[in-house]
């Protein structure tokens, strides 16, 4: 048999074919797999199926922990924000406000920052008392509670400010000694004393209240302790609003 005949006979093997019923059945199976297969699983997902998938993902331990943490953070922020406007000491939010203020002081490690907060909190108490006294009975025990709170804050502010003043004075003395050292051999002890006093006087403004300028246009600073005293005095006279304003004048550099 030559090659041509062989090829002719080989082409006769085209008659080898799968069974017609198998072709048809397999076609149906394939159609089903294609038309109802992968794509439909993605496209035909209903609303509840999608919700189910999302819920399933969220119910994993990590998302649950994250959601709980988020809940506490959000509720904390919302609660604190709401409590800022509360002036009634009997209100739960007021307690939350005080706790938040204490927490802020506890997490502040800078002495100047703590002093600033003490003054700010004293100012808050004065403002609270100002607004609360306008709506409450003069014999309301809550007025006394607010007064006590103010005094505590003022005492705390005074203590911190005096500490700052002491530290500032010490530092000024050290600076004065350093700055006059080259002249030590040339000048007397008296000149050192004079220099130290000058620096101390200048640094009095570290914790002070700006009281404007004198008639010569020179800036005048009043020590913060004096401002506190004045604020307390105004408070005792029940000028709560002015007391709060006075406290607002204190500037801690």
């Amino acid at each position: 048999m030559n090659e041509k005949n062989l090829v002719r006979h080989l082409s006769g093997l085209k008659s080898v074919a799968p069974r017609a019923d198998w072709i048809r059945q397999n076609r149906e199976v394939l159609s089903y797999q294609i038309f109802n297969g992968q794509e439909s699983a993605a496209i035909k997902l209903g609303f509840f199926s999608r919700v189910g998938i999302v819920a399933n993902r969220l119910l994993q331990p990590t998302p649950i922990a994250a959601l709980i943490a988020l809940f506490f953070m959000v509720s904390g922020v919302v609660g604190l924000n709401a409590s800022k406007h509360t002036t009634d000491p009997a209100n739960v939010l007021y307690a939350a406000k005080i706790i938040a203020e204490r927490a802020t002081v506890a997490t502040t490690f800078d002495e100047k920052g703590k002093a600033k907060l003490a003054v700010e909190h004293a100012q808050n108490r004065a403002n609270e008392l100002n607004s609360f006294s306008q709506t409450s009975n003069p014999n309301d025990p809550r007025l006394q509670e607010l007064t006590d709170n103010f005094k505590k804050e003022i005492a705390s502010a005074r203590e911190r400010l005096s500490k700052l003043d002491e530290e500032a004075a010490k530092q000024a003395a050290i600076d004065a000694q350093t700055s006059v050292k080259p002249k030590l051999n040339l000048n007397s002890k008296a000149s050192i004393k004079q220099k130290t006093d000058e620096v101390a006087t200048t640094d009095e403004g570290v914790v002070s209240a700006d009281s404007g300028k004198d008639e010569k246009g020179i800036q005048i600073f009043i020590p913060a302790s004096k401002v506190l005293e004045e604020a307390e005095k105004l408070f005792n006279e029940k000028n709560y609003n002015e007391a709060a304003s006075k406290l607002g004048e204190i500037e801690i550099k």
Binding site: M1, E3, L6, V7, H9, L10, S11, G12, L13, K14, S15, V16, A17, P18, R19, A20, W22, I23, N26, R27, V29, L30, S31, Q33, I34, F35, Q38, E39
Partner: protein, 199 residues
């Protein structure tokens, strides 16, 4: 026997291929199934030598092919036919790995082996052939080396072009021509051994 091929309205294999490539057209794939199922089945059948196994593998080939198209991997191919043949080849290899069947019937073992191809003729085949030469070919083909059998089936039974064969088996056109030539020589040699009255 072979059912008439249905092609798309727009006609042609290239049109089907473009519909699949651009739109992942499911209907086009079903049309491609109608167009290629017989030749893919034949290709598998002459490799595995068993009708039932060939049908199972052919089913897998078309499903794998659809997944391949669906995942957007058709870009590397010029024709759907070459993709189908490549998937068929790989599926047969996987199939034999899993079932640990022998894919080849080496020429050395011809005397000891019975014909690997399922020789049970269907009634249509019996009616179509005047004498049993087809049966001889079916018996002789499995005795060829695997790579020769493959190119014989692709070239002379399924009528693929040299270029198509080279893309399916991953060889150059020149190599394919040489393989076809040698395959025919080997087959001629085998046929000569068949009873004189049949040949």
């Amino acid at each position: 026997m072979a059912s008439p091929k249905k092609t798309s309205f727009f006609g042609g294999e290239q049109a089907l291929f473009l519909r699949l490539k651009k739109h992942k057209d499911k209907q086009a794939f079903i049309e491609a199934y109608d167009l290629y199922i017989e030749q893919i089945f034949r290709f598998i059948y002459f490799k595995v030598g068993d009708r039932d196994e060939a049908e199972d593998i052919a089913s897998m080939v078309f499903l794998k092919c659809w997944n391949y198209i669906y995942e957007g991997n058709l870009g590397d191919y010029q024709t759907l036919k070459s993709l189908l043949y490549k998937i068929a080849r790989n599926t047969i290899i996987d199939y034999y790995r899993k079932t640990q069947h022998r894919q080849n019937i080496p020429l050395d073992d011809i005397a000891q082996t019975t014909a690997a191809i399922d020789t049970e003729p269907n009634p249509e085949e019996q009616a179509a052939t005047a004498f049993d030469f087809q049966k001889v070919m079916e018996e002789k083909l499995p005795q060829l080396k695997e790579e020769y059998r493959e190119v014989i089936v692709l070239r002379f039974i399924n009528e693929l072009s040299i270029a198509e064969i080279s893309s399916v088996i991953g060889k150059t056109n020149g190599n394919v021509r040489v393989m076809i030539h040698r395959a025919l020589e080997s087959l001629q040699q085998l046929v000569k051994e068949a009873p004189e009255e049949i040949v």
